[in-house]
Subunit: 181 residues, 2 copies
């Protein structure tokens, strides 16, 4: 079996559509002749950005906000959708102005992450933001966001907290820690 023969997707059709999501059903044939049915989830709109805002060389600014999916407050990095016409770095700078009240003189794209590549195509672009300056844009959040400065060297101490569970945040911080330390 050659892995150069990518599976083929047949007969895809939309089986459900809501304001935010579209679910597609498709048949996939693999190079060994196996066929399977899958469902895939597409979200409306663009991919996302997630920003790692460094207040200084050692300290990242995390936020704590209510997550409706898990019905808990969760510690995460600032994030949001890329809006029509925005670049990844423009979206990153807007998100930190809205969510933590800072802009960044230095923005660097780090890596594009997936969440559940088996059934979700959505990508989250990780951006490192450095050399911050105070600048607040009106947030679209329903309540004030709590900001949590955290030493990136103390990343490990977050693991024990049960409000620190979000995979992209943990992945992004681990990548930045490997790069910066």
């Amino acid at each position: 079996m050659s892995r150069n023969n990518k599976p083929h997707i047949h007969n895809s059709s939309t089986v459900a559509e809501t304001e935010y999501f579209r679910i597609e059903r498709a048949e996939i044939s693999f190079s060994n002749g196996e066929r399977r049915e899958y469902e895939r989830l597409f979200s409306r709109g663009q991919d996302a950005v997630m920003v790692v805002p460094m207040l200084n060389r050692e300290t990242v600014l995390l936020i704590r906000e209510y997550a409706v999916g898990t019905e808990k407050y969760e510690i995460v990095l600032p994030k949001g959708s890329i809006e029509q016409g925005e670049t990844i770095l423009e979206a990153a700078n807007r998100e930190i102005m809205e969510e933590i009240g800072y802009g960044a003189n230095k923005l660097e794209f780090i890596k594009s992450l997936t969440i559940v590549p088996g059934y979700i195509s959505h990508r989250t672009n990780i951006v490192l933001a450095e050399d911050l300056y105070e600048k607040r844009l009106e947030p679209d959040e329903p309540e004030d966001i709590e900001i949590i400065p955290w030493r990136i060297a103390d990343f490990k101490l977050l693991f024990e907290r049960d409000d620190f569970t979000e995979s992209r945040t943990i992945a992004a911080l681990s990548i930045i820690k490997e790069i910066l330390i």
Copy 2:
């Protein structure tokens, strides 16, 4: 505003249902009086396990498999759904027998991760598997799985690969690296 006053969820109703997913629409009121409409995604069945199988103290066994959502082969950790009546550790041991042909004498629950807590409730339970022995169960995968042994100290070298994007895998490896090294 007190963060002890968790938002309230009102008027939730199912707006779409497919074989694998259910989408719910709900109105949320925050302690400051703000109200917003949200959609939440529920997958059928149980939560998942993701296993970090250590071939020895230094080497983790990763797999490379086709991801229908992103239409690419992706490097990930072995994972799957917890079946009816299984514990987390039983599911973890079954998954590595099916996907990489090993069982583990030592299984330890590490942490429960979320993917997109803002709209998905689903949790993935990370399990560290050590003291492996050869044992193969019939996999339910559509094609043979490629196994990639990787030195956990060389975690950083994976970041540059564009088939290494899955957030839970990166999060789980970073947590295990902090624990083991």
